[in-house]
Amino acid sequence: MSALDVSFNEVGMPAERPLLEIRDLAITFKTSGGEVQAVRNSHLTIMPGETVAIVGESGSGKSTTALAAIGLLPGNGWISGGQILLDGEDISHASEKRMIELRGNTIGMVPQDPMSNLNPVWKIGYQVKETLRANGRPSAPEDIAKVLAEAGLPDAHRRAKQYPHEFSGGMRQRALIAIGLSCQPRLLIADEPTSALDVTVQRQILDHLEGMTSELGTAVLLITHDLGLAAERADKVVVMYRGQVVEAGPSLELLENPQHPYTQRLVASAPSLASRRIQVAKDLGLKSDELLAPTEALVEPSMTENVLQIQDLTKVFKLRSGLGRSTDFTAVDNVSFSVKRGTTTAIVGESGSGKSTVAQMVLNLLPPTSGKIIFDGVDTSTLNSKQIFAFRRRVQPIFQDPYGSLDPMYNIYRTIEEPLRTHKVGNKVSREKKVRELLDQVALPQSTMQRYPNELSGGQRQRVAIARALALDPEVIICDEAVSALDVLVQAQVLNLLADLQSNLGLTYLFITHDLAVVRQIADHVCVMEKGKLVETGSTDEVFDSPQQDYTKALLNAIPGAKLMLPPEVA
């Protein structure tokens, strides 16, 4: 059926013409290794006013497809097949002049990272103004303020005179939404519009965006990696995998009845959905041990000794504020909690909550301003250098950024062997044997030994980091956002690995994260931190079922998918 046909459906109403229809789209990139087809057989339809989400992991082609629709493919990529019909007009090979006409007032965009998408040298007002002017709209200061105010920026007149670096991340994203919608486009492309923001801010921004677009009747093409978020926000979900659309359909139907094996995997692994599913099941009276990750069931009652006790921990940083003066900034404020051996305790908080500072202090990399960290009965601040060296064997970290946590100059063998060599464990032969064992434990082939970090994917690097952390047979592992940078399926895989290792080796985890959905899957105990203070602590069930503090409630509420009606089957 051609989009230009005006046909009639059964009801006898004239069938609406799709606002955007992508047919058999293929996009090719020229790389140093030759031509690579990044997208093929891609198709989707957006009706006027409709919200459609494309879901996929990084490299799935979801952003590339969206960028093609607004004619913004990078210089080395081009549309090598198919059509992009905007209101019936094929724009897949439209002239740049035509695209400039369309951009802004017909197709708008809200980009992903609010930190890098505003030009740092121009005032916010100017960046709105040039948008209005380029699209032939009135651009007086009142118009600019109105646009900003509509996007939820208070005090818009004053804000317009500020530079991007004077804005918080959430405010920048509001400014970008203001710009994207300022010329009332018929289609808005929102590319992961909130993934760089704190969860509570995410929810506010998405709510606001939803309100604005439905008021303006704008259709939205939402790009996201989070299936829960997509299903909650969109009428229709399109799942992309390795450059192809594997499944598309109404959101709920897709979640309840995923057909393609990839979608099934995604539905099973998405933390927000898993978390939601646990909630639904519990509401129906199922017992939580059957639903939570294996760690919970494996805590033996005898292992109730506190391996870590944090008492009144405080860290004050001196911030320089101009000439010679300094102000105190309390990053961690009187925090106390304890960690039982063999369990997982999660510290949850948004950026600036002080959760990573706690991790640094527990690792003995940063001296506390006051308070104590008692590890296995000993106050760690009293250790001499030799004892600290011994302490390091017993407490090991895993970091967030899989690209930064391995020395790019070291091959995997040297990386994993370094802790053994540093602590003079065994001889060359026994160390190599140990490295091989460790690779087995993290399910990497032994041939990985000869490779370098830049040859591995993010998930594989994180496994290597785990192997390095395990090399000295530690008792406690501090995971600082250890899975946050990974794609959903890889994340699930690494979480499973961590859970298996815990049950096999009796490890204790201190898990630092911003993602409550992940917490629900793995943690026994939760500490919620806000602005340096511990606001709530308790077992995972307690905190999720009956949160006491408003902040915890807000965090829980911000998990995408909270509004979804899901069946309680266990994946």
């Binding site: 409709e50 659309v245 946590s405 000869q450």
Partner: protein, 316 residues
């Protein structure tokens, strides 16, 4: 409102969209370190090949000038040959003093290359050490070294050299080594700065924190993890500076405050030839061309290295 729209549920045929194992390791390529990778990129670049060949040639000329000419450059200059044109055995003609231009260009190579190489080695030793200490330890070490660098940096290099070479010690002992000391004195801050910046960038990486939490000592961390990762910009700058220092030596010699007249060098020859520039420009042209070509080789090498070692082009 939206409910009356029909939405089909599309599922792609499985044979078109096969499912791969999650996060499988690509095992088809041979393991490759970053240096090997850089080398593979380098050896395909014409700029690098040309530069490398030229530098090899220049180094051979500097080491064994006798291989390239039988004519002694300074002993048997005949005033009768003054400003003579090219003739058999003397392809480039003669200087005002009647010396063979070709032989002088060949024998002048050594001084330039020596000054360049030894200056860069000295600057590397001092600059990298100070820069690495400042960047890695921060605090007062950083403040002192950075301010010291600023002070030297604020002295434009030729001006600074003017003052230094006025000192009795330098005026009385003009030699290759005084020129090298002058260059070291004024050239270390830029090397220290770039090392410091590179070290600070690496210092913040998670793998440094990981090494610290393993109990690796500060000095070991600096030597084993930080410096190897900070090396790329240092190597590029060092290669470029080799060229820059050769020009600097020639400029100083041209101004009469560099190498003594007794040492054959392109700068001295150019200075001597400027009197005859209107009558016999070729005497000036040949040493100038040799100088330019030498400097160009190092600049080209540095440029090729920069591209190959660029961290942005590293991630595959």
């Amino acid at each position: 409102m939206k409910s009356n729209r029909q939405m089909e549920h599309y599922v792609a045929p499985l044979e078109d969209t096969p499912l791969l194992a999650t996060d499988a390791l690509k095992e088809d390529q041979a393991p490759l370190s970053l240096w090997q990778d850089a080398w593979r990129q380098l050896r395909k670049r014409p700029l690098f090949i040309v530069a490398a060949l030229l530098i090899t040639l220049i180094v051979i000329v500097a080491l064994f000038p006798g291989l390239f000419t039988q004519t002694a450059p300074d002993n048997n200059c005949q005033l009768a040959d003054s400003q003579g044109g090219p003739r058999a055995g003397h392809p480039l003609g003669f200087t005002f003093q009647g010396c063979d231009v070709y032989a002088r260009v060949i024998y002048g190579t050594r001084a330039s290359v020596m000054v360049g190489v030894f200056s860069v080695i000295c600057v590397l030793i001092i600059g990298v050490t100070l820069g690495a200490l400042a960047g890695f330890f921060g605090g007062w070490v950083d403040v002192i070294i950075a301010r010291l660098g600023d002070i030297f940096f604020a002295l434009p290099i030729v001006l600074g050299a003017l003052v230094v070479t006025q000192l009795p010690f330098f005026r009385d002992n003009k030699s290759v080594w005084t020129v090298i000391i002058v260059i070291l004195l004024l050239g270390w801050p830029s090397m220290a700065r770039i090392t410091r910046a590179a070290v600070i960038e690496v210092r913040g990486a998670d793998f440094i924190t990981a090494a610290r939490s393993l109990g690796v000592s500060n000095i070991q961390t600096l030597i084993r993890h930080v410096l190897p990762n900070a090396l790329a910009p240092i190597i590029v700058l060092a290669t470029m500076e080799l060229g820059v220092f050769i020009v600097l030596e020639a400029t100083l010699s041209f101004l009469g405050i560099g190498l003594p007249g007794s040492i054959m060098s392109w700068g001295n020859d150019i200075a001597a030839a400027q009197q005859q520039i209107r009558t016999n420009p070729s005497v000036l042209f040949y040493p100038a061309a040799a100088l330019t070509l030498t400097v160009l080789s190092f600049i080209m090498l540095g440029d090729a290295l920069r591209d190959a070692l660029d961290p942005k082009s590293r991630q595959r």
